[in-house]
C-alpha cells in the first residue's frame, strides 16, 4: 500500500470538509473492497476519510411502507435486523450469502453500491426494488444511480447517507456464487411491488453492470411463477464472459436464478 493519511470523520459534514481539504481523497466505509485495492496499489488516495464510525450513517428504520438502511450499516447488522427480516426477508437472505462472516462484519451497503462492482449483490436489490439512494445532496433513483462498471451517479465528494426500499408484495434473490470470491457469477433479484409492478434485475451477468431483464419481467407480470419463465430466452449479447463462464452460460443462469428467486419469493 502506498502512503496515505487516515482521517476518522465523526459526522457527514466533517467528512465533506475533510474531503475538500485533500487532493485525492477516498471515502472509506467497511474497507472490504477499498483496502484490498489499495494493497494491490490499484488505488493510491492521498487521504482516506473513514465514515465507519459516523452515528448518523448507522442503523435501519421502518416507517410506513418504506425500509431505510443507513449507508454505513454493516452486512451483519442488516442480516440480523428484525425489521429487515420481517418486511424484506430477501434482503436479509442476500446479505447472508454475500462474502463470508468476517467480511459481513465490516462491509457496508453504502460501500457496496458506491463501488458498483458488476458482480456485487446489492445493486440488483436496489434496481429490482426501485430503491432510492439518499446522499448528502439529493435523492437518486436506483435506475439513475448505477451507470456501468464501477461507475455511479455520485459526484466528487458526495456521500451516500442511506438507501430507501419501498416494501414489496413479494421479493426473492438467488445467485450462483463464485466458490472462491463469493461474488455472484450471476445473481437475480425479482420483486413484485404492492402496485403490481414487476421488476427483475441481474448482477454478474452484463458487461455494463446490473441490468433489468425485461423479458422475464413481462413473463412474471402475466404469471408470477417459476414455470412462467420456462419459455423465456435470454440473449448472450453483451454478457460477461471469462474463465469462470461463457456469455451463453451466464444467459442461462439469468433464467435459472430468476426461477429460483421466484420460488423463494413464494
Amino acid at each position: 500500500m502506498y502512503k496515505t493519511t487516515y482521517h476518522r470523520a465523526s459526522s457527514v459534514d466533517e467528512a465533506i470538509s475533510l474531503f475538500g481539504k485533500s487532493s485525492e481523497a477516498k471515502f472509506l466505509a467497511g474497507g472490504q473492497t477499498l483496502l484490498p485495492v489499495m494493497k494491490q496499489r490499484l488505488a493510491s488516495p492521498s487521504d482516506v476519510i473513514d465514515l465507519g464510525k459516523i452515528k448518523e450513517l448507522q442503523g435501519v428504520e421502518l416507517s410506513g411502507d418504506v425500509l431505510t438502511i443507513k449507508a454505513a450499516t454493516t452486512y451483519y447488522d442488516i442480516m440480523t435486523n428484525a425489521d429487515v427480516k420481517k418486511v424484506i426477508p430477501a434482503i436479509a437472505h442476500l446479505t447472508s450469502v454475500l462474502g463470508d462472516p468476517a467480511v459481513r462484519y465490516r462491509g457496508t451497503i453504502g460501500g457496496s453500491i458506491a463501488n458498483n462492482d458488476p458482480a456485487a449483490d446489492f445493486p440488483a436489490a436496489l434496481v429490482a426494488l426501485a430503491a432510492t439512494v439518499k446522499t448528502n445532496k439529493r435523492s437518486i433513483s436506483a435506475d439513475d444511480f448505477f451507470k456501468g462498471l464501477f461507475t455511479t451517479a455520485l459526484e466528487d465528494g458526495e456521500i451516500i447517507t442511506a438507501v430507501s426500499f419501498p416494501i414489496p408484495a413479494k421479493a426473492g434473490y438467488e445467485k450462483m456464487r463464485h466458490p472462491a470470491s463469493r461474488f455472484a457469477l450471476t445473481g437475480v433479484f425479482v420483486a413484485q411491488a404492492k402496485s403490481g409492478e414487476v421488476r427483475v434485475a441481474a448482477t454478474g451477468a452484463s458487461q455494463s453492470g446490473v441490468m433489468r431483464v425485461g423479458a422475464i419481467e413481462a413473463a412474471l407480470k402475466a404469471n408470477w411463477s417459476p414455470s412462467a419463465i420456462d419459455g423465456v430466452s435470454i440473449s448472450a449479447n453483451g454478457l460477461l464472459a471469462d474463465i469462470h463462464g461463457t456469455a451463453e452460460y451466464r444467459a442461462n443462469l439469468v433464467k435459472v436464478m430468476a426461477q429460483r428467486a421466484v420460488a423463494a419469493a413464494g
Partner: protein, 161 residues
Amino acid sequence: MSTVKLTVNGKAVAVDVEDRTLLVQVLRDHLNLTGTHVGCDTSQCGACVVHVDGRAVKSCTMLAGQADGASVTTIEGIAKGDELHPMQAAFRDNHGLQCGYCTPGMIMSSIDIVQRHGGQLDEATVRQELEGNICRCTGYHNIVKAVLDAAGRMKVSQAAE
C-alpha cells in the same frame, strides 16, 4: 504517523504507526503477537482473523486507525493461563490441524461462530460458516468435528461461570 490506542488481550497499548499500517501489522510487528498469521493478504483465507470489539474480522483488511479505541482479542488472549480455551482444547483433542498455519484464524472464527449460534450448531452450519477460513491440509473434517465438540464444551464452561 499517528498514535493508535488499543486494548489488546486486556492490556492497554499505544503504538506510533504510519497511517497505511494494517491492524495485523500492528499485532505482529509492533506488539510481537505473531500467533495471528498472514496467509493470502487478499481477504480470502482467514488466517489473520482476530476479534475487534467482539466481532471476528480479517485483520489484514483493516487499517490500524480504524481499530483505534477498540478492544482486540488475538489467539494469544483466549487461554486462561495454562488452561486452554475450550476451542483450543477441542482442536487439539480432535486433531483439527496439520501444519497449523490456518489454526489461529480458524479458532478465532470458530469461537465467534459458537457465540452466534449457541447450541444450534450442526455440521452443515459449521461448514458454511467457515467458508472465510481456508485450510490446505486437513480437508476440514477434523476442524468441523472440533468446532462441534467445542460448542458443547463452551456451553458447559459458560454454565460453570
